[in-house]
């Protein structure tokens, strides 16, 4: 009987999963956070990645464990080695009863410069195998400011559809009503810990009133961080203007082509008028063999979208840090006056 109900409940679960409620929350274990931080910090400034393991429960994606990837090398042989490593690690973890269900991956980033085509490609790769996956981004540099710089991202569905058809022309984007804001979706993160860990942490918590993150936060020198941020921002601006130039070039070409087409058509028409008068056969008004009728390829807007995303990301960071340093400065001022 019990088995029977079990089966039914599994069936029910399967049935409800077909509807696939949208992913609302990513629930991360404290263990995973510590593991990610450790891996990313140890190898900073090199960027590292790792795999997230967990469970997909309704609209919540639980991340219960993770393991790091060795630093990737270009060699193909080593790449195969990497795949072996991944399988071996999963097998080993399964043996000690860890959930061995891939739910995504994590990666470290430098000041939030993660919005790249590679990230999207990786995402598409993962998405092919698992319906629901998430990417957790950790920024070691930003974390030195006393913030827990963790972000959970996924690609939006409409963007994925568009990416699959690989069609980033202005027309298509307008059709889908997709702008640069809609490429990535940030998913709120929840942190959970087992009761045992909670008990241990309460036990082990030092009873000093000031802890490390306070020191980090009250650090007065933020200028290196802001400077780097500005540098990146300026770089991005340059990239963006490059992209803009590409578009201008394209539009110039398009209008030149249109003018040529018009001129050609005009010529053809007058010619046809003459032929008509002479009673000869009319020439067609279109000539596919003529190179001026070949449509020009429109440059992809993906790059400029990504750059725009980056820029807005940097702006947000600058805003955040500047806000922090405002409060710090006023604090120092008040302290000094006292």
């Amino acid at each position: 009987m019990a088995a029977n109900t079990m089966v039914r409940s599994f069936l029910q679960v399967a049935a409800t999963e077909e509807v696939a409620p949208p992913l609302r929350v990513v629930q991360i274990e404290g263990l995973v956070i510590l593991k990610i931080i450790k891996h990313c910090k140890e190898f900073a400034p090199a960027l590292v990645t790792g795999q997230l393991l967990g469970l997909d429960v309704g609209s919540v994606l639980e991340v219960t464990n993770c393991f790091p990837f060795p630093i990737r090398e270009e060699d193909e042989e080593i790449e195969a080695d990497g795949a072996n490593y991944q399988l071996e690690m999963m097998r080993c973890l399964r043996e000690v009863n860890v959930d061995n269900n891939t739910v995504g991956w994590y990666q470290s980033t430098l000041l939030g410069s993660f919005q790249t085509v590679e990230l999207i490609e990786t995402f598409m790769n993962y998405q092919e195998n698992i319906r629901r996956c998430v990417c957790i981004i950790y920024d070691p540099l930003k974390s030195n400011q006393g913030v827990l710089a963790l972000k959970a991202l996924k690609l939006s569905d409409s963007f994925m559809e568009l990416y699959r058809s690989n069609n980033f022309t202005g027309e298509k984007l307008r059709e889908k009503n997709l702008s640069w804001v809609d490429i990535f979706e940030e998913i709120p993160i929840k942190v959970s810990n087992s009761a045992l860990i909670s008990a241990f942490m309460t036990e082990l918590e030092a009873d000093t009133p000031v802890i490390q993150c306070d020191y980090d936060r009250l650090q007065l020198s933020t200028s290196p961080f802001l400077e780097r941020n500005m540098e990146f921002l300026i770089e991005c601006m340059d990239d963006l203007s490059m992209e803009q130039q590409k578009f201008q070039y394209y539009y110039r070409n398009v209008s030149r082509q249109q003018a040529q087409q018009q001129a050609w058509l005009q010529k053809r028409r007058t010619e046809n008028m003459g032929r008509k008068a002479a009673g000869e056969e009319l020439l067609p008004e279109e000539d596919p063999s003529n190179p001026i009728f070949k449509p020009l390829p429109e440059p992809s807007r993906l790059d400029s979208f990504l750059i725009t995303n980056q820029i807005s990301n940097y702006c947000n960071q600058i805003n955040g840090v500047a806000g922090q340093s405002f409060s710090r400065l006023y604090l120092t001022k008040a302290l000094h006056e006292n």
Binding site: G30, L31, I33, L34, K35, K38, H39, P68, Y85, M89, C92, E95, V96, N97, G146, V147, L148, L173, S179, I189, K190, V191, S192, N193, S194, L196, I197, S198, A199, F200, M201, T202, E203, L204, E205, P209, V210, I211, Q212, C213, D214, R217, L218, L226, L233, T308, I311, S312, Y314, C315, I318, G320, A322, G323, Q324, S325, L329, L331, T332, H336
Partner: protein, 297 residues
């Protein structure tokens, strides 16, 4: 676990160990996920020895094992496979010892310790009392040394600590100091790691607010203390006084004009950045609007 004065002398360089909070987390997680009917989990500790001789325990993984009364079977293949995998990621982390859940050292620990002694000289044995058997989560670290029969007196002491007199060669486990300060955990914030569920990660400004509140509370405490000493309600403590003096002293002596200039300059720098970033954002939004408008036309 009383350790007599005499046995301490045996270890000329006293080892100390430092534990990364991840290790504790990992052990707890493995314990929660242990197979049915197993009393404890054991596993390998990875890390390195720091230049000052402290053993830095940075990582760990569980190793499946089975235990029947006095016998322990460790899955050595698993241990080696996992070690190879771990070393691919971080070759600098080597075996430094092993852990087991439960309070203190048990008889079968000696066998496992022997095995790890073959892997690395002088391994560390970490015990984490996940059962809270004496009401607190005790985390302890031990090193062991084999005692030869000629030291009769010490052997007796050792035998008692190993809890097993039948072993041909007695092993003595000596507790070593363990540094449990968790700077890494502090960086993440105990608020997140301590509770079983946190709904939202704190943002920049929320974190700042919390820190400031703590700082203000501290300053208030200092004020209260100084006032009460001043009024003679609390006996003055020279040490506290010196600390306070150091704190006041650490403020740089600046004339108000210079200080104002400093603060205002930084404020203006920040303002400029804020302005720049805001204008960039406005531009982006504007471009976006124009773009869609141009496409609609």
């Amino acid at each position: 676990m009383a350790v007599t004065e005499r046995t301490v002398l045996q270890f000329s360089p006293t080892l100390t160990a430092k534990v990364h909070p991840l290790v504790i987390f990992n052990i707890c997680d493995c314990y929660v996920r242990r197979p049915d009917q197993t009393e404890r989990v054991i596993g390998t500790l990875l890390g390195s020895v720091l230049p000052d001789g402290t053993v830095d325990i940075r990582n760990s993984y569980a190793v499946p094992h089975s235990e029947f009364s006095e016998q322990v079977a460790l899955d050595i293949d698993y241990h080696h496979n996992m070690l190879i995998s771990q070393q691919k990621v971080n070759p600098k982390e080597v075996i430094v010892g092993w852990y087991s859940t439960g309070l203190g050292v048990t008889g079968s620990s000696v066998l496992i310790h022997d095995f790890y002694s073959g892997e690395v000289p002088n391994p560390i044995h970490l015990t984490v009392d996940t059962g809270f058997s004496n009401g607190e989560g005790t985390v302890k670290a031990y090193v062991s040394s084999n005692l030869s029969l000629s030291h009769g007196e010490q052997q007796q002491a050792g035998g008692r600590q190993a809890g097993d007199r039948q072993l041909p060669l007695a092993a003595q486990f000596q507790e070593i100091p363990l540094d449990l300060r968790m700077v890494e955990a502090e960086r993440v914030g105990f608020d997140i790691l301590k509770t079983t569920m946190t709904d939202k990660l704190p943002t920049d400004l929320e974190g700042m607010e919390a820190s400031m509140e703590r700082l203000l509370a501290l300053i208030d405490d200092v004020y209260k203390y100084v006032d009460s000493v001043d009024e003679g309600r609390v006996a003055p403590d020279n040490n506290v006084g010196r600390f306070l003096w150091d704190a006041v002293e650490s403020l740089p002596k600046l004339s108000p004009a210079v200080f104002d200039k400093l603060v205002n300059d930084s404020l203006q720098d920040n303002m400029l950045l804020l302005y720049l970033s805001s204008i960039t954002r406005t531009q982006l939004t504007l471009a976006e609007k124009l773009n869609t408008a141009a496409q609609v036309l």
